[in-house]
């Protein structure tokens, strides 16, 4: 179990959600190989994933520092 956890930590790093993004990209690439739109969809998925990850972390920090509450109250 320890080995599995260590391998997961090494692979997932601090952004475990990115493992799912990579799996999604590979599955989409395999399923929609011959559809032209896949060349737009794949970069879009990656871009959205990066945006979601960054915005979530920034919002978490704002909530933690109380800035979110001030903003809500204003």
């Amino acid at each position: 179990m320890r080995v599995v956890r260590a391998v997961w930590r090494a692979v997932a790093g601090e952004s475990p959600e990115m493992v799912l993004v990579v799996v999604a990209v590979v599955v989409l690439a395999l399923v929609f190989t011959h559809r032209g739109v896949v060349v737009v969809v794949l970069p879009l998925v990656v871009g959205l994933a990066v945006t979601a990850s960054v915005t979530t972390r920034v919002r978490q920090l704002r909530r933690r520092s109380g800035a979110g509450n001030q903003w809500k109250g204003s």
Binding site: A29, T33, V38, V39, V50, R62
Partner: protein, 260 residues
């Protein structure tokens, strides 16, 4: 095309060389901080001995891991697997660098890393030389493993281990030279900017190869790579600006500087 021929000729080879060069430079800055700290406390012979041992082991890993991959694994399977690994690494580097650029995460502080290593090695111990040797060896090895994964993966996916290994070696030499010139002021090297650029390139490269391995027909083939680099680079720049404006950049980062 020879496995070890050195000159990059296509856009994907140029991106490969730049990505490997940047990744190695970032990791070697961190490794060099540890080596310089060991040199200042336990002696330069100890520090360089430990670093040289780790570099030999890392070089062996590139040959042992890379050559069989290139020789025996079918190219499409290799590209899909390698592309996935590079995409994962690239996305993690990219997100972390964007958060640091926006001021959400504390930047990796080389001065702090140096001070902590010197303090740890200055504590009285039974065998200071062996301890210094182990710290230098471990520091270079741990920072270098990620570089080996990138060199082997990116080099194998294009059957160009030579340029990839050459770029890594050149970056290691450049950082060592910069370390001598800057003499312990490694914090002057714009590590986060380098990390952001490498994250963009690895993500682009990884997505391109993962798609190519799965059979996706990218328009213009390798001409897509610079486009992906441009798109992801622009997105990263926008996210850094947004993060700063969102107010996170103004407050002091509360999260501890994470190792890369």
């Amino acid at each position: 095309m020879s496995l070890f021929s050195a000159v990059p000729t296509t856009s994907s080879e140029v991106v490969l060389v730049l990505a490997v060069f940047g990744a190695t430079a970032v990791e070697m800055v961190e490794a060099l901080t540890i080596v310089v700290a060991v040199g200042a406390t336990s002696g330069w012979r100890t520090a360089l001995g430990g670093a040289a041992g780790a570099l030999v082991l890392l070089g062996a890993l590139v040959v042992v891991g890379g050559v069989p991959l290139v020789r025996w694994v079918p190219l499409s399977d290799l590209r899909m697997a390698v592309g996935s690994v590079l995409l994962l690494l690239g996305l993690q580097w990219l997100v972390k660098a964007v958060l640091r650029g926006a001021g959400v995460l504390a930047r990796h502080d080389e001065d702090l890393a140096y001070t902590e290593t010197v303090r740890a090695l200055s504590a009285p111990s039974g065998n200071a030389r062996a301890e210094g040797l182990a710290v230098a060896f471990k520091g270079v090895l741990l920072e270098g493993v990620e570089v080996v994964v990138i060199v082997v993966g990116a080099g194998a996916a294009q059957h160009r281990l030579g340029p990839a290994a050459g770029a890594a070696g050149a970056a290691a030499l450049l950082v060592a030279g910069a370390g001598i010139v800057l003499a312990r002021r490694l914090s002057r090297i714009p590590e986060n900017t380098l990390k952001l650029a490498v994250g963009v390139m690895l993500s682009s490269f990884g997505l391109f190869w993962a798609g190519e391995g799965a059979g996706v027909d990218w328009p213009g083939s390798e001409a897509t790579l610079p486009v992906l680099v441009g798109v992801f680079g622009a997105l990263a720049a926008l996210l850094v600006l947004w993060g700063r404006r969102a107010g996170a950049g103004g407050s002091s980062p509360t999260e501890r500087a994470a190792p890369t």
